[in-house]
Every structure is written in structure tokens, then in C-alpha cells.
Symmetry: C2
């Protein structure tokens, strides 16, 4: 025991890329510069957003690491990293997104509680590891209809009021479904998972808010009902705009799982200078939860009066609008649209439609909530148009 542990101080943090936008230093919470985000379909590990509740856990000797599979399982297990590597390896390209992505914009309506995030509290990676499904089968668990959950426990030391190590759970049915592609990842983008992202092992739950993809995993427990931990019961729930801290009833809402459709503009950025008469490429990402792919991205340059459809792609600029079969359903799409600029004021707006025809709310105030989660409102970027002869 104790080979993987959560330290109490920040003396042993990993090296981080200096270009990250740091929202909080201790614990370390940082996001990608938006223009870097749309440079590649797969987000480089160093630029991938970092979301922590305490100091990064430390492991003295990975050979001593053990993952415990316990609870309502016929045959409890204690697995080494090598045991996990000996299982069939599965890779899934999945976008992880923090439920608090775009929280800063929600705070402009009315102050919300939580780490401030602009538009890059997410990233898309190729995760490699063992299928959770295979591991549970090893422990004798079978696919069944029940209300049971699978609980993931980490070793990181969170603030005391948050009740100890980080935990989360997902329904057993999702854990056992091959289609859900839940994996125990020891690789990120073909390399060994790094400390910031959960070394030596993390869960990746595709299509679900990042909070359930528990890092620095030490225990997987099958339980009768959903996890009663802080982050399932007293956080990451969405309340209506009428609920505030004086009238909140946490039990009245369910823990957030799938996230709704999201579609920010990454380039240009608010306030950028652009030349009248020039061509401008508008770029962003779009993603929806639950494996619901993106059906369409609409972009407006006149504040929402008229719209054009953007081109969507994954991998190698292979346009998935023409290749729906090639769509990776748990991964974002990047999109772009090139427009010719006139002299008119420019307000770029983007919105997406997912495979179940879900749309985004036009206005953030209609979805304001005290924890500032799931801001999926239309994203708007105002630009300054300068005369063609200006020097930029």
C-alpha cells in the first residue's frame, strides 16, 4: 500500500508548458490557448487542459502499483500495471471536457462559484488501455439490468470539506457496454500517461463530463447505487436559474453525466483587428456528449441574422460531412469557414446541432446556474474592422 499517494504539498509538481493559460496555481488548473486548440485534431498532451483538486499524486515504484477491483463482484481482484497491459489493448479517440468549460462567461451574468475557465477546458486525445468491461468480466461481473454503479477512487488529496480522495461513479450498464468504450487508460496519444493526466492509470469515460474520468485510480468498486462522494452529490449538478445558495437542495438533482452540444469559436479572438476586403478563416470546435456526433455547424458574421454552414473535419482534414461513416463519435469535430470581409461591423457567432438534433441555447442567462456548469450557449466574438490600407 501507499506506493501511489497524494502529497499534501505542491513541492513535487510536474513541469508544465509555459504557453498554458493558468487559472489557478495550487491546485494547478490551466487551459490551452484557443488558437493552439484548433491546430490539430489530437491535442498534444502538454497543451491538454489540466484540472486538479490538489497536488499531483506521486508513485515511488510503478511496479508496486495495484488496482483493486472490489465490492459487489464475484471475484475481487488486485491487478498490477502489467496485468492490465496483458489484457487486450483498446484505443478510443475521445474529447474530455470539464463541466465548467466557459464558466467565466456565465459569471458575467451573475457571479458563479468555481475555477474560471474560458473556452479551452477540454481536449481531444487518443486514449489507450484495457476495457473496463474486460476487467469487470475478469472479476466475474456480467452484463445485467440493475441500478448498480461502478465507483472509481483516486488517491489525490482534495480540500477537507470535499471529503477526502476524489471519487466518481457511472452506471454498471455503461461500464459493461462495449459501445460505451470506457477504458482504464495507461496511454495518452501513444505515450505513457503522464502525471498531470493520471499516471499510472485513469478512467476515460467518453461522452461524459471530465469529472467522471477519475485520474490516479486505485480502486474500482461495484456498488448498489450511485457514489455518495462529494463530487457526485454536492457538486457537478445543474440547477435552474432560480436556485441560489440560500435555497439549494442538492438531493433534488441528479449528478451530471453526458454533456450537451458545445461549439466555441477559437479563431479569431474577441477584439482582433481584421481588414475590410480581406479573407478571414474562422475556426472552432464542436462536440456533444453521449456519443452523439455533430451533425452541423452554423456560423454567422452578422451577429446571428444570417448563417452559413461550416466545414467539419476529424483527422487529416477528411471532411466528415461527406464521410459520415468515418466519424469518431466520442471525439470533437474541428470546423472552419472562410469569409470575405466587408466594411460592416463583424460579430461572429457559432452554434452546432448534434446527431439527436439537440441545439444550443442562444442566451447564457437562460441556463445560468450557481455552480457555473455546462455553459453551452451560442459563442460570440466581436471584431474590429479596419480599412483595407491599414497596417496590422
Amino acid at each position: 500500500m501507499g506506493v501511489l499517494y497524494g502529497p499534501k504539498s505542491y513541492e513535487n509538481e510536474p513541469h508544465r508548458d509555459p504557453s498554458l493559460i493558468v487559472n489557478s496555481k495550487e491546485p494547478f488548473n490551466a487551459e490551452t490557448p484557443p488558437k493552439a486548440l484548433v491546430r490539430s485534431f489530437v491535442t498534444p498532451e502538454d497543451l491538454f487542459y489540466k484540472r486538479n483538486h490538489g497536488p499531483i499524486p506521486v508513485i515511488d515504484d510503478p511496479n508496486n502499483y495495484r488496482l483493486e477491483i472490489c465490492g459487489l463482484v464475484p471475484g475481487p481482484l488486485s491487478l498490477s500495471l502489467q496485468d492490465l497491459r496483458n489484457l487486450p489493448k483498446h484505443t478510443v479517440t475521445a474529447t474530455l471536457q470539464c463541466a465548467g468549460n466557459r464558466r467565466t462567461a456565465m459569471s458575467k451574468v451573475r457571479k458563479v462559484k468555481g475555477v474560471g475557465w474560458a473556452i479551452s477546458a477540454l481536449g481531444n486525445a487518443v486514449w489507450g488501455g484495457a476495457r473496463l468491461h474486460d476487467v469487470l468480466e475478469l472479476a466475474g461481473v456480467r452484463q445485467e439490468s440493475s441500478k448498480r454503479h461502478v465507483e472509481f477512487s483516486s488517491v489525490d488529496v482534495c480540500k477537507e470539506e470535499n471529503g477526502g480522495p476524489y471519487k466518481g461513479s457511472i452506471p454498471l450498464s455503461q461500464a459493461m457496454s462495449p459501445e460505451a468504450e470506457v477504458i482504464l487508460a495507461y496511454e495518452m496519444n501513444g505515450k505513457e500517461l503522464n502525471r498531470d493526466h493520471g499516471f499510472p492509470l485513469r478512467v476515460v469515460v467518453p461522452g461524459v463530463i471530465g469529472a467522471r474520468s477519475v485520474k490516479w485510480l486505485t480502486e474500482i468498486k461495484v456498488i448498489e447505487e450511485e457514489c455518495q462522494g462529494f463530487f457526485m452529490q454536492k457538486d457537478f449538478k445543474m440547477f435552474p436559474p432560480t436556485v441560489d445558495w440560500d435555497n439549494i437542495n442538492w438531493n433534488s438533482r441528479r449528478p451530471l453525466m453526458d454533456f450537451p452540444v458545445q461549439c466555441p469559436i477559437c479563431s479569431p479572438a474577441e477584439g482582433d483587428l481584421v481588414k475590410a476586403g480581406s479573407k478571414m478563416k474562422i475556426q472552432g470546435y464542436a462536440v456533444s456528449g453521449g456519443g452523439r456526433g455533430i451533425e452541423r455547424v452554423d456560423v454567422s458574421v452578422d451577429g446571428g441574422k444570417t448563417w452559413q454552414e461550416a466545414q467539419r473535419f476529424q483527422d487529416d482534414k477528411e471532411y466528415i460531412a461527406d464521410n459520415p461513416e468515418k466519424c469518431k463519435r466520442f471525439a470533437w469535430v474541428l470546423w472552419e469557414l472562410t469569409v470575405e470581409l466587408t466594411n460592416s461591423p463583424l460579430e461572429v457567432v457559432a452554434k452546432a446541432v448534434d446527431a439527436a438534433a439537440n441545439i444550443q441555447p442562444e442566451d447564457v442567462s437562460s441556463i445560468w446556474n450557481l455552480r457555473g456548469v455546462l455553459n453551452t450557449s451560442w459563442h460570440r466574438v466581436r471584431l474590429n474592422v479596419v480599412p483595407p490600407q491599414s497596417k496590422l
Copy 2:
């Protein structure tokens, strides 16, 4: 062969409830009076909406009925109704909704093509039958990751331009998933399925537009990719508002499957007279596709300026807000809110949020599409307030 067949004339139609609102006589398309819809969690068969493309099929002797299981299956089968009844019986409470529900309101923005429907082209029933999963397993099919689909063929005679008998398909992964609860139903609300709803056998695909729950089923075929039939390829797709009949490219969109979140007001109705100073009960339904339950229903009586949360229930008025575990995820919730009326003008508005925090569009024009499908915009009902002493 030929025991179940689609006649060419309308001489042998079943008896129908006279209270149904008939939108087209031949083929027979009719919906429930909205106030009747919210009277019970389970919609009575007679009042359940009827959606047809031709005369109702006829079967001479149900004992001669055969369902063929063919295509990419290791062991093709020909099953009688008794064979199906001998398999374990599964029941699922599921709301079926026509993709064209609320089309009439979309036509007010700009004319769309299709049968006009107000707000009741849906119903909630308890379907009983064999699991599709069990039947495919009997034919040797195993759960696998592939692009294969399962195609359902009917015998009803559609218009010639629609390319013959009605067909539709769903992904094999969904067909094989126990969680998806796709069934071959021979019962509706505990009684033998009636002719209007697919006697002797229909598919029920919970959480998906009604068009894929093929009635009068005669063949189930595992195929390499999605069905190429008219109703999959040239209908039931959603286009952006900019696409019209002169610039349509059917191949650019995928067939509709899951439907988005929907929440109409069934009582009171547009134009109803109500007394100032009295109490009024507002009632409606809310449902979302893909098994995403309803997380919240918001109701406004001032046209959307302020909102209150309505109470949601399924079965026996057991309020599921307090019993999330009891939620039937493929079934609608009914909801109600009682308000005290003042003298002010009354505009009732309702909107819902589903379990993945998906919301509805405020305005129908933003989702206008030439086929008039998936109108899930906020529903509005304007009432006339009369003085307290008026006789109503």
C-alpha cells in the same frame, strides 16, 4: 407467403375512436385531443396517435404468419407468432413520437411539406414482446463493433414514389444492446396489438423517432450499412433553414434517429377563457430521445419573463423528482403546475431540460426545415383573462 398483406384500397380499415383529431383520412393519420393526452401516464390504444402511409394491412390467418430473419446472419430463421411468444417476454414503457409532431406550427413560419400535426402525434404505451436481441442471438448474431444495420420491412403499400413497402433500420449495436430495449411487440398495454398499431407484430425502438418502429413486420435483415429505403434516405432527415427544395442534397445528412427534448402544454389550450383570481392547473408532457430522462420542466405564465418549476410524474402520481431511481427513461413525464391568476395578460410557456442538460430552442424559425421535422421549440399558449364575476 401473402398471409399478411397490404391492400390497395381503404375498404377494410379498422374502427377508430370518434374523438381522434383526423389530419388525413386516406391514409389515416390522426392524433389525440391534447387534454385527453395528459389524463393518464399510459395512453389508451384507441386514443394513441395513428400514423400511416397506406391502407392498414390485413392478415387472413395469424397462425400462418411468419417473420423472416435473414441477411448477414449465421442461421436464417422463419418464426411463427408462437415461436416469438415462446421467447422470454419483455415489456418496456416507451413513448413513440412522430418526427413530424408540431409540424403545423412550423408551417406558420414558412410552408413545410408533410401531414399537419398539432401537439399530439405521440403516445406512451407499455409494449410487450420478444427482445430483438434474443431473436438475433437465435439466428447466431453476436454483439460486435461494426457499421452493420438491422433492417425492418413491412407489408404496407406506400405511394409508388416512396419505393414500395415501408422500411427502416437501426444500428446493429443498438439492436443487440440490452439497455436499448428494442422489442418485437405483439402486445400494447397488455392487450394483443391491434391492426392500427401493427398487428400481428411491430418493432418498438425506444427513444427514437416513431418512423423506425416499423409496423406489420415481415422481415428483419442484417445488412452491411444503413437501409437505403425511401424513408431512411429521402425523408426523415433534418436540413438547416437555408436548404429548400431547389438546393437539397439528401446525401449530405444522416437519417434521424434519437429525437431531442420536447415539452408542450396540453391544458389549457390556446384562447381558453380563464377567470382572474381563480386557480388554474397547467398540464403537459415532456420527453427526450435516447433514454435521456427529463431533468426539469420550467413553466412561465408571463410569456417567459419569470419561470417556476413544474412537478413531474410517471405512474400513479409518484413524483419522480423525489424518486429519480424510479424513472422510466424511455417514457415521457407528465407535469403540472397550479398558478393563481391575476388580471394580467396570460401567456403560458413551457420548456424542459433532459438528463444530458439539452434544452429546447426558444424560436421555431431557428430550426425551420423543409420537411417540418422535430419542432421542439418552446410551446406557447395565450389565454383570455376575464373578470372574476364572469360566467364561463
